[in-house]
Symmetry: D3
Subunit: 253 residues, 6 copies
């Protein structure tokens, strides 16, 4: 049993609240236990210079934590004058992961920017951001698809992310901050609704891990992600969910 | 009658929710209609270098808006690498205003940092930040006073802020974004619970204003601030409120 | 009596010397006692990107102090790599104040940049900068009006600024540095030649102030500004002054 | 057969030349085909502030590419004034990977900085940097161990890294730039000499991948790393290699 | 004859006005024709970290131009967020030149910062800055020598600087901006009162120059510098001038 | 005799290896003893904005040292976020020197960027960079001349650079780091193959120097440069060398 009464293969209580922002084209407040992230999707009817004229859209993400999202206050990155390596790494990961389930040609020359702002952090902020951003992005893309009568629906599958790790030789799902700081191995898994891997980032800085441990962690990750995809479907509602499922089913053949 | 059905001397619906953050020593979510700001107070048991050895504390503030707090997405200041002049001006104002009602000697060599993060912006974010920060700060200072058994309670009065402006020759209280963009004259008023001015910043960029108009605006501001101070008392509860009132009454003689 | 022999309602000795720079389209050296500021106006026959195509001009200002303008040397902002909040606040104020007396449509798609460089600082550098910049700007705009035969003269009124404050319960006009550092209340007033307010910024960080004190300060400010406007007229000479007065009189009806 | 005549499980020609720099405490020039990286190890007899007083050492890395290391010239990061996200991600990875095989307590309060400067880039620069840095670090640590007669030898195992990917459904080892740009799945593997994983970063931005594909890639990666560890042993010579092996064997029990 | 009626070996009208600033330990306004520079010397009773504990002082310089010092307005370096290469080159040159005539041991652990702010630029700003800074520095050092009763007077010789160049095959002294932009060869010479070279920087970007031309230019430079040293003596007055001459004479033996 | 067995008028062993980089349009590895610099030339078929539409090309240079090129590790300029004054000064010098022997009209609207990256530094890195860059540039320009069948060959003369200095009253050629740190006078000379001066930068920070010493240094510099130009010819081969010589001979008449 874990400190917080969870089983090793159990996620924290997760909630996804849509319409968390009055202005954004898509938005959610997503909570994994005490981790709370606001994800907004902003649609821009043009692409960045390096993408111009290719007939394709672009998905990008930015990530930030409020200074007191954590136990100890962090200096604002705007006050330092630059982003930390951790922030850059996370926002590159979020953008890359989301792009893997978007048909950029079907989207057309538009940019969607996902802003993930961590209001409170208790571990797993990057996986929470990916899982929440997917929902905000899907709402925004659905609106584009309706308004511009896109020929193909541009989202090709569901996408969610969860962390797994090994604590005292025990693989565990969805670590909170306290668990994360005790874990010898730490892995973030991003998967599609069809059960394929999009990103796997495993780190054994404290202790290298074996092939067998790796497999146990991946299995736990798969379990968590199936659960999260169900929550995403509920949050998105049947209309949008069915459009995504239809495209995904067609791709699986 | 105003667009939103308010009378000219009526504020928007205001709510102050304490404990908006799990980690901070004091925190509130404050809402003025659709303007929403999270204010957290962080206590640091030391002062910045320029204050060292004076036996006095320090109060400082930082202000930021989430990129999609507004109708059009703003670039993050962390991505630009520097704060805008507007942000600097606002956070200097918040800090200065709060210091005016803190007895820094009574506080002792400690720093309290107020972080005001605008989740959604519909006008009046700086006055909302001041009004909310006062509550977060009072909670944090009360905790310090208890824990360190301070000889004097360091808060000398209540403090709130509201905007006023002139639209079509009509003075109005608490402008929202749409009203603010039509106002010829725009003024931010910061006052104490005892009815004294701490900051008055009036701007007639579009049209200079007369002494008489000035007086009408100040009167409206006073009205709004009395109402806000009552809401602060409710949010803080009787124990803290009475401590502040006692110090303020003693100062008034 | 004040330390320097002045009466409470008396400004320091003020001088405005035009043609202080060989290259600028308008320039003055303005001195308020030991405070010395060079103000130059640069005309650019285009507007910044955000103003393009509106048929309007733009007025903007930059402010800086030489490192040894003050008793203790300040680090250059170019060496720190960024402007301080104080500088940003001041240059935003100067630009906003000047724009309030310019008919931007009459000016046409041109930008005038006022550079206020403080050679020596003894209090009141921002009010001195506004008062001096107005003269430099008027010279430059007059030249534009002549050269391009503008249909309407674009300056709508005179504009000057002065500081007032309360020292030992006594309201005083035009504080020097020593007085400023003793003042409990500090206010900067910007007014037009017709006696209307453009900006009022009052701060009671050390001690909040009452409505009555506020009124006394405003009255002192009005007095000082009338005097400064007379000096501006002398510096500008009758040709330019009469053009401004004519537009202002027409606007007053 | 691959474009360059290699088999799918074959690395490029790899060479590791020690003493590539006259001043550094350890240095190598490492070449993977046309990818060339200079790795230098600098020893500093103190640790960064956040590590002070813990009796532990620190290993950190910096990574950079010469502007014309690539087909198209890249702007220098010093000229932009900041590091790109890619650079930060890579240097964080190198440092983390190296720390996993160093007993920081045995090292004592010292910092070793690995500088990885890419002279020419043809794919795999981050894995090449890790593999080369390990050798430069081992030389520098061996010198410290001798000079300060350390009680325990601080390196706990060999460490190398290689990339793997899937091109046209075929898993391949050690992609060059041309192959990398065609790969649908791209994975970097960091492993110890004892065959345990330290980092696995797999990305399927273009196409998600299955559990089976994942396993094939890991197997290829293991193969490549065994080969690289042999080259590291040759470069380091028997004295240092045996010290590392002894510690690793003891840890494996 | 030159455009401005000067002979080829004639400097512009030069004036050096001391006490140009109320606060600085030494200050001058120096004018070479229409080039005007304020030089202030600030004394700090400590040295920068890299100089600590050596029993020696330090002389450093900063250089800047007001944005409208030139015909076309230049963007402020504080607004760009960094110094240009030109500024860095000039301020390094000024500091290096001044240090060549200061006995840093005799000065003791103090720093003197020379700020050279160009009010108006018409060519030769760097040579004007060196010539003016020497006087401001000498005044400040004299005050230190008196106040702290230094054992040896720390200035070892006079120091001045002038530009020379070749225009239409004719070597000329002290080029103004218009001449400078026509010169094929441009040289800045810094010399001591005793006639030795401290810095010679000759550039033939437009056309390489011969040994003979070089010698003609050096001869012109020597001529101009003797004249400038006389003006420095007058500006400094006999007391300080004699102290410098005495040290210089002793060194020459 | 010098420490390293050289005579006072003898350069270190110099080697110039072309094709040091697989991608660049021109490249060399140049070694002056233990000083090693990679110089690459990148051709861009356009000019910077300030040069547009003049029918002329542009030559520019960037310079950097690897962090451990020196005995003590230097912080990367990319990590500081800005270039040092030294770097700016050097890269401006390299660009200016190279432009003096290029007929920019003959080159046409193209930019050539020379990147000088110091792999190992033992004194004379700026003169080594100029000497090596000339060769890399010549290779790149020859390729342009062939490919675009330029009407005139754009290189007007050979160009090389060497340092000279005075150590213990003895003028010496090509100082290494140890000698350089003992030199009282330090001079960098840039000359053409025809024996004209392009840049002379002499500094006597430690001790001013006389006209006679100056002449001795220039003579030594001329000697060294003739030798370096011969090495450049060998490195470039007869085809390119003869083209340069032909243009230079024509110019000399």
């Amino acid at each position: 049993m874990r400190l917080n009464g969870r089983k090793t293969d159990q996620t924290r209580s997760v909630s996804i609240t849509t319409n968390a922002n009055k202005y954004a084209e898509g938005s959610v407040l997503i909570e994994f236990g005490d981790t709370k992230v606001i994800c907004t999707a902003t649609v821009d009817e043009k692409v960045p210079p390096f993408m111009k004229g290719q007939g394709k859209g672009w998905i990008t993400a930015e990530y930030s934590m409020l200074p007191r999202a954590t136990q100890v206050r962090n200096q604002r990155e705007s006050a330092r004058g630059k982003l930390t390596g951790r922030t850059m790494e996370i926002q590159r990961l979020i953008g890359r992961a989301l792009r893997s389930v978007v048909d950029l040609h079907a989207l057309g020359e538009r940019t969607i920017t996902l802003d993930c702002d961590v209001i409170q952090a208790d571990g797993g902020t990057r996986t929470t951001s990916i899982t929440g951003s997917f929902v905000a992005m899907a709402i925004a893309i659905h609106e584009i698809a309706e308004k511009h009568k896109l020929a193909r629906f541009p989202i090709t599958d569901f996408l969610a992310s969860v962390s797994v790790g090994i604590i005292n030789d025990e693989p565990m799902l969805d670590l909170n901050y306290e668990e994360d700081s005790k874990a010898k191995v730490d892995m973030n898994v991003v998967m599609t609704g069809s059960g394929k891997f999009v990103e796997v980032q495993g780190t054994g800085e404290e202790a290298p891990f074996s092939r067998e441990e790796f497999n146990q962690l991946l299995a736990l990750g798969e379990l968590g992600i199936q659960e999260l995809v169900e929550l995403q479907k509920t949050a998105l509602g049947p209309v949008i969910s069915e459009k995504i499922e239809k495209v995904a089913a067609a791709a699986r053949g």
